[in-house]
Subunit: 408 residues, 2 copies
């Protein structure tokens, strides 16, 4: 019997506690031993919970109990999750987390600490909820080389984009709907401005390379300025708008960034709707592999935590690749201005002739967009650096209504 | 240094040998030790190969060499692959295979033998080429319960279906094209009649349940009778025709079968084109997870073999779930006649009035299909057993041009 503790009795933590109870046999088979939740740490009391008698308020009870082999941290945020995780690892306890912010900001030091103490620090649930993405990269693709990842990593924004396209409603209306359904939080800024996806693509890039980027080096662009006219343009281009987190190995470093993209219809990511998440992983030998599933939710996320609990307790984590990360050296992540993209551009307030003349002048060859509505000009640039794109945009006549990168 | 042998120097075996050479460092890191191919067993000689000096013709050289820790079997077919695999396992050597026919027919006994001898018998490459599907189910989803799998498991037939739809060409034309491109073999019967997909869904169902079905209990229907009229009907129903291998846990047993299906557009499998493979896995906690990638090809398949080589040598296979299969007891796989499906039906040679009257009489409520062309009648049944469907079809007036199950 292995005793474990759960820190943070919210949606995911609560899911973990009930899953451990309800799936005894299957977990014991995989973990190699029965698992039992001895403590639940939370600031609150839960007098009506069937687990009320396990709820404690003093973290030291966990840290000082040699019976506790593993701590599940599902509290979120950096503090005190960092301090609690550090203490648990130093006490020789495995730590399993769903806390993407902590993993993105302090994963490197926590993994090193875990390694020094001969225990695991695992984080499958921090990206893509129930999608078994991280373990798959660290085991099945460990003998391959991951060269690129493009992911729909945030379900809230994907729901908003799906509703804007299918319902013809504005961003504000779709956001309000997502909030009513509980898909978006009252303060949705981490989702809609791309910060959540930013942390997740940082984590995936680290799983692929062993280096975790500095948040300040990872460009993230809000999707809150998108309009139904953008959805329509994407449809006319045969695709759909998606908020994409991208990682790519290039000759002069890696590119890691998040922004709304027009995804062509031939890319399976264009067909990932509603709150689903997906990640397309390009590996040198295996080619493109796509993973698709529920990116959030109590049971998918708790299920991912449990799979990490089993990997820690049965020792298989020791054979997974990229067991520790290094903080990325300066210049490892390319400056976003040096990234190359193709861009869809829509301009109003100037004649089509004026706009297209200027576009040819500043961007060279540009492609027409089928079915351009009256009153605006549209075109798609060829591949060029963000610096060139942004200089080009600023020298167009009229008003740039939209400038969306295309996922190639 | 771990010495290994490769049996069968064809497309996949050749890929394995060159990958082991070219990816020394990454493989050593994951496998825990450097890996070297000492012998290549084949009937032929390869005087021009850089590996000519390792080619041998006597299997006993491998079996009697205590240095050989692992054998890769990429020869295909049951004999002598079964005898060679048996001998290797008895000699305490791990066996890694890409041979789906052998795994489907003799996997249970080979896994038991491996277990008795404290070694691995692994088969990731037998299904879905480079898609890391089997290991993901056996690790990440091991603490969950897989309730259903629907897969596009054969790239050749998916290419044919894509070309029939997009090119408006007949089955025969699309098959000829696939043969020219090397996607289909001269004798394509294993692909087009569903036998290849049948073996693969049997293997996946066994990974999910621990029981391998008897081939005779697994219904497989050819896709060679499909027409462009079927592609058109699927499009009018908002979907696409795909050859689907299905596994489902039901109250009275499991259903396992292969047949062409109309896949609705909201299902991501409808958007898997060309030679790509995909499998949608429904797990109790995690929900639907889809895996998508190259189902065949030298490097994807060889890459999957190498990931198994690493799992065998680093010992992590010991923590994977469903390490051995049992042969399924009688009645474990439900009779296909008792499976329930909805069906699209197209009838010619009788008036629409006659056909629809009869359809209502024998099938009860049926749904209309948008845009039915002149000269035929079309409808979609509600959910009913295959027995009811087949009785109903035989009592319709006119000629049943097509009867395609719908994937719900």
């Amino acid at each position: 019997m292995k005793e474990i503790a759960v820190i943070g009795f919210g949606v995911v933590g609560g899911g973990v506690v009930s899953l451990v109870d309800e799936n005894q046999e299957r977990i014991a088979q995989t973990a190699g031993d029965a698992v039992h939740v001895k403590y639940i740490l939370d600031l609150r009391d839960f007098p009506d919970s069937p687990y009320a008698d396990r709820v404690i308020h003093d973290v030291d009870t966990i840290m000082n109990d040699p019976e506790i082999a593993l701590v599940v941290e599902t509290m979120g945020g950096v503090h005190p999750a960092l301090e609690f995780s550090t203490a648990a690892l130093k006490a020789g306890k495995h730590v399993i987390t769903s806390n993407k912010e902590l993993v993105a900001k302090h994963g490197a030091e926590l993994m090193r600490l875990a390694d020094e103490n001969g225990v695991a620090y695992l984080y499958e649930a921090s990206v893509g909820g129930g999608i078994p993405l991280i373990r798959s990269i660290r085991t099945s693709l460990a003998t391959d080389r991951v060269d690129a990842i493009n992911g729909i990593l945030n379900g809230t924004t994907n729901y908003i984009l799906t509703r804007m396209r299918d319902g013809g409603i504005s961003f504000d209306e779709a956001l309000a709907e997502a909030q009513e359904l509980g898909y978006a939080e009252k303060d949705p800024s981490a989702d809609i401005h791309g910060f959540d996806a930013q942390r997740k693509i940082m984590i995936l890039a680290a799983v692929a390379t062993g280096y975790i980027a500095d948040e300040n080096d990872v460009y993230a662009e809000t999707m809150s300025k998108l309009t139904t006219a953008d959805m329509d343009a994407a449809k006319r281009l045969g695709g759909a708008v998606r908020l994409i987190g991208s990682f790519k190995r290039e000759a002069d470093g890696v590119s890691v960034f998040v922004c709304p993209r027009i995804v062509p219809g031939k890319n399976p990511l264009a067909h990932v709707d509603d709150v689903y998440n997906a990640a397309s992983v390009a590996a040198a030998l295996t080619g493109d592999v796509m993973y698709y599933g529920r990116g959030a939710g109590r049971y998918p996320t708790a299920g991912a935590v449990i799979s990490d609990v089993a990997a820690a307790l049965n020792g298989s984590y020791r054979t997974e690749s990229v067991r520790t990360w290094e903080n990325s050296p300066a210049g490892f992540v390319k400056k976003f201005a040096d990234s190359k993209n193709r861009m869809y551009v829509r301009v109003s307030g100037a004649s089509v002739q004026e706009v297209m003349d200027a576009a040819h002048l500043v961007f060279g060859d540009v492609a027409a967009v089928p079915g351009t509505p009256a009153g605006v000009s549209e075109f798609v640039t060829s591949l060029m650096t963000e610096r060139q794109l942004s200089e080009g945009l600023s020298s167009l006549p009229g008003k740039v209504e939209s400038a969306l990168r295309i996922l190639d």
